[in-house]
């Protein structure tokens, strides 16, 4: 049967959309900036016929006329939905427009046109309070042991990245009452770093000024502030100039299933003057476990194609798994050994996996592998530049219990200091970077990785857990963070990003002191000091083996 003509009941009402534009006719000057800047073209200039009230004489004499008026209209096309990014608000000279979140949205019912599942960037859309944010630091030193002064006392806010030999195996001999290290014995490389790292976000996924800003900030932190922050490269290689510079020691090149950029890295080896901080072998990512990477063709411009060693303008898909994988021993042990060998066993090499119930199996494999330098676990709240919404929202394991299980398993084996665990995924999700990092450290992490947080703090990324913006996959990032379009990334200043990176880490260091000082900890990072934590949720307390408080 034919539907009624005139009203198309298959149209999507604006009330189904995730964000609804609030536009104020009385304030709008019709300058057109908002419509020009909207990344999804969700708003358009339009004309409408309507009754207008006018009074043009010397005394008020209102008359009504029918006229044509210019307005800003939100389109009801699901492919041009308002993402709530708010760029329109930013450019509006007269505070005339703002997107408003619509909690009754039916977005996911509609965003599958053409049988194509919804894909996006960002992280899991879950605005509820995370487990990490529920944890409190409840062991406060006061009288039985005086609290320390975060501003006056010395604090050691550093961690170790790399395999620590068991004390019983350190090749030491006693000579004249002193300990001497025996010559020609293998000692795994270990780096002393700041316990918060910038996780792997690729050049390609990030715009040139964003990556450059992060890199500059990290370098400044190391060289000027003497805070040894390290940063992951993500998949896709590292610019040749950086590879051959002395600054590569602050970076962790990542090798992932697409092996993009690795030919270039291997060829740069003879010209490298410093070793990288570490090498990360990516087996999984918290945001999209079991998925490979994908860099869309329109992001593969000249610079990216050179770094990755691929032609310009083609989709770069990394498979979900390393194609050389036959068994865990093949995948992990052999890759770790081969990559270690490339740098003469001077560089820590470790795998990164997504949070999973099977993390313990990987962990135990690594615990037995003397060349494995660490394990990085990326929980379900990890971010990404591009993934299926279903993967982002529903796949993966929360980091807190995954990390805790792994740490306690190492404790059971007495190997908790041999194999450091780095925890990622949702650290600083609600802005509490230092507190989340400290919680994970007290649960047993040697350090944490951040991605989304640094994009939000250093470059003002609009993304949040109400699916705001999250256009990273389309190359249309209105902030210029995740795009290769010069018209967009010119909005971002690498210098300002670098400055904010420095702000973030200096603040985090002070806040970590403010957490550790009242707990009476200063001479070592309190890894596994779970007696310092409490939570007012009995189930979480039981699961994490920490105290229940109320």
């Amino acid at each position: 049967m034919e539907p009624v003509k005139g009203i198309n009941m298959m149209d999507i009402p604006l009330l189904d959309f995730p964000y609804i534009i609030r536009w104020r006719d009385d304030r709008c000057t019709r300058c057109g900036k908002c419509t020009a800047v909207c990344p999804t073209k969700a708003i358009v200039p339009a004309v409408i016929a309507r009754r207008l009230v006018r009074s043009e004489g010397e005394i008020p004499l209102p008359t009504t006329v029918r006229g044509v008026e210019q307005v800003i209209k939100q389109v009801s096309d699901i492919d041009h939905y308002c993402t709530g990014c708010g760029t329109c608000t930013l450019v509006c000279p007269n505070m005339a427009i703002v997107p408003e979140h619509n909690p009754a949205s039916k977005f996911l019912f509609h965003k599958n046109r053409g049988g194509v599942p919804y894909k996006r960037g960002g992280r899991r859309n879950d605005p509820s309070t995370s487990t990490l944010d529920k944890l409190k630091f409840t062991r406060i030193s006061m009288l039985t042991d005086p609290a320390l002064d975060a501003g006056r006392h010395e604090f050691y806010i550093r961690t170790l990245m790399g395999r620590n030999l068991p004390a019983e195996d350190i090749p030491l001999i006693v000579k004249d009452g002193r300990l001497i290290v025996e010559a020609n014995k293998f000692i795994p490389p270990v780096r002393e770093i700041f316990p918060i790292r910038i996780g792997g976000m690729s050049i390609g996924a990030l715009s040139p000024p964003m990556w450059e800003g992060l890199a500059m900030g990290v370098t400044y932190l190391n060289e000027v502030e003497h805070i040894p922050v390290v940063m992951g490269s993500g998949e896709g290689g590292v610019p040749s100039r950086l590879l051959k510079s002395r600054f590569i020691k602050y970076f962790i090149p990542q090798i992932a299933s697409g092996y993009f950029g690795w030919d270039e890295i291997i060829h740069a080896l003879p010209d490298m003057v410093e070793d990288p901080a570490a090498i990360e072998i990516k087996y999984g990512q918290g945001a999209k476990p079991g998925d490979g990477g994908l860099l869309m063709a329109y992001k593969v411009l000249k610079l990216i194609s050179e770094i990755r060693g691929v032609p310009m303008g083609v989709d770069l898909a990394s498979p979900p798994t390393h194609q050389t994988k036959y068994s865990i021993e093949e995948a992990v042990a052999k890759m770790i050994q081969s990559v270690s060998m490339a740098w003469g066993f001077r560089v820590p090499v470790y795998p990164k996996i997504s949070g999973t119930k099977t993390a313990l199996a990987v962990l135990n494999n690594l615990a037995r592998n003397p060349y494995a330098a660490a394990l990085c676990i990326d929980g379900e709240d990890g971010g990404t530049g591009a993934a299926y919404n279903v993967s982002l929202d529903k796949m993966g394991h929360p980091i807190a219990s995954n990390l805790r299980d792994c740490y306690l398993d190492l404790v059971k084996q007495g190997k908790q200091n041999e194999l450091p665990i780095f925890a990622a995924g949702g650290v600083g999700k609600q802005g509490n970077l230092a507190a989340n990092a400290a919680s994970l450290i007290l649960l047993g992490a040697s350090g944490v990785d951040i991605g989304k947080y640094i994009m939000q703090a250093a470059a003002g990324c609009f993304g949040d857990e109400h699916n705001r913006c999250n256009l990273c996959n389309l190359g249309k990032c209105p902030r210029g963070i995740t795009t290769q379009d010069p018209r967009l990334y010119r909005r971002l200043s690498a210098e300002k990003v670098a400055q904010r990176v420095v702000d973030v880490f200096k603040t985090a260091e002070m806040e970590l002191k403010k957490v550790f000082a009242p707990m009476g900890r200063s001479t070592q990072l309190p890894i596994g000091m779970s007696d310092g934590l409490g939570v007012s949720d009995q189930d979480i307390a039981d699961r994490l083996s920490i105290s229940y408080v109320c």
């Binding site: 030491l172 009452g177 002193r178 300990l179 908790q416 200091n417 200063s522 309190p526």
Partner: protein
């Protein structure tokens, strides 16, 4: 806060010297208990050096349990000593049962065994008896080792000393470590009372170790049966000393490098920097934190004092050749070793490791920065 009193001498002295020193430091502790460990014993024990002495407290049923176990294990009683309990009206001390100080002869099959095997047997026996005793609180075992006596009880230290009749029938030794407080931060548990002893190593601490949980978790899995049953965060200090010195074979001075490691820049100044860097990394979980003054003795009779890395607790060492005191406070030292050159007193600071050699021959101050 705890108050500590250690004396080392080349002649036997009464542990009452320590207790009286604790009494002068009374303002600094709450008089809630006394624990002491004696080494290189005099008096009746002078000629029993090779016989392990079991120290503890038991009820009648605990005593039967103990006797049965020891008999079955092949230990034979060599000598028994019991304090002459003196219960006074108004005293804070309540008699708990029998106070055991019994020297045993090794089982026949162990007499010619190696030292390691004998030590393992003593540790295993002590732990087994402790476990048995805990089932109904009928038996507390503090130490089982040759030439060592340990006593612990709740109450004002001086009153506890008099309760044990030590003022009338003294227990003498050449090394005595006493601590004047129960662990009143938590419910009182005799096993939480300092000093702590393990296989010839003994420490007592004035402070609180905020790194207890990581320390404990590390020691628990070091495949040594003695590292367990932690009732106090301070027990860690003794077991870490044992681990570092006996298990790892490091010289004593590295104990400080493990529990209060230097900064990287400071390590660079040491001639053994390469080894220190590795130790700092591999023994990271044994680093202590919080305010702590640690006093201890070694199997060879050396006695030491060191401070936490911020020097947050008091401590003083002073005396003359053949007679030294290591105390929390100067008034305690004045009481225990009045005849000394006060200008030679040492107040160990954050880098200092004060060691008095066996028989109180000489005192050395090792500076951690110099190694």
């Amino acid at each position: 806060m705890c108050r500590l009193s250690a004396i080392t001498a080349d002649k036997y002295f009464s542990v009452m010297d320590n207790i009286r020193a604790l009494d002068t430091m009374k303002e600094g502790h709450d008089g809630s208990g006394l624990g002491f460990v004696l080494k290189d014993l005099g008096g009746d024990f002078k000629d029993l050096k090779e016989y392990p002495i079991l120290s503890g407290i038991c009820t009648d049923s605990g005593r039967r349990k103990l006797d049965d176990y020891m008999k079955q294990a092949g230990f034979k009683v060599k000598f028994m000593w019991e304090p002459q309990i003196c219960e006074k009206a108004g005293s804070s001390v309540v008699k708990r049962g029998h106070y055991l100080t019994t020297a045993y002869q090794y089982p026949d099959e162990y007499i010619n065994r190696s030292q390691d095997e004998k030590e393992a047997l003593l540790t295993k026996t002590r732990l087994r008896l402790r476990d048995e005793g805990l089932k109904n609180n009928s038996l507390y075992i503090f130490s089982f080792w040759p030439d060592i006596i340990t006593m612990k009880e709740v109450g004002d230290p001086l009153e506890v000393g008099e309760f044990f009749g030590l003022d009338k029938k003294p227990l003498t030794a050449k090394i005595a470590m006493a601590q004047g407080r129960q662990n009143t931060n938590y419910a009182i548990d005799l096993y939480a009372c300092h000093p702590f002893f393990l296989q010839g190593y003994c420490t007592m601490t004035n402070g609180e170790n905020t790194a207890f949980v990581p320390n404990r978790d590390y020691l628990l899995r070091r495949n040594f049966p003695g590292y367990r049953n932690y009732k106090s965060d301070s027990e860690i200090f003794c077991h870490t000393l044992h681990f570092v010195h006996k298990r790892l074979g490091y010289p004593l001075r590295y104990y400080k490098d493990v529990i209060t490691p230097l900064t990287n820049n400071e390590i660079d100044g040491r001639s053994d920097a390469e080894a220190l860097r590795l130790i700092k990394k591999s023994l990271r979980p044994l680093c202590i934190d919080g305010p702590n003054c640690v006093i201890g003795f070694m199997p060879d009779g050396s006695v030491f004092m060191l401070q936490d890395s911020k020097k947050l607790r008091p401590g003083i060492v002073g005396g003359t050749t053949g007679h030294y005191g290591l105390m929390s406070e100067e008034c305690g030292l004045d009481q225990a070793v009045p005849k000394r050159k006060r200008e030679d007193d040492i107040f160990p600071m954050r880098y200092d490791f004060v060691v008095i050699s066996p028989n109180a021959k000489e005192v050395q101050v090792w500076n951690q920065l110099k190694g």
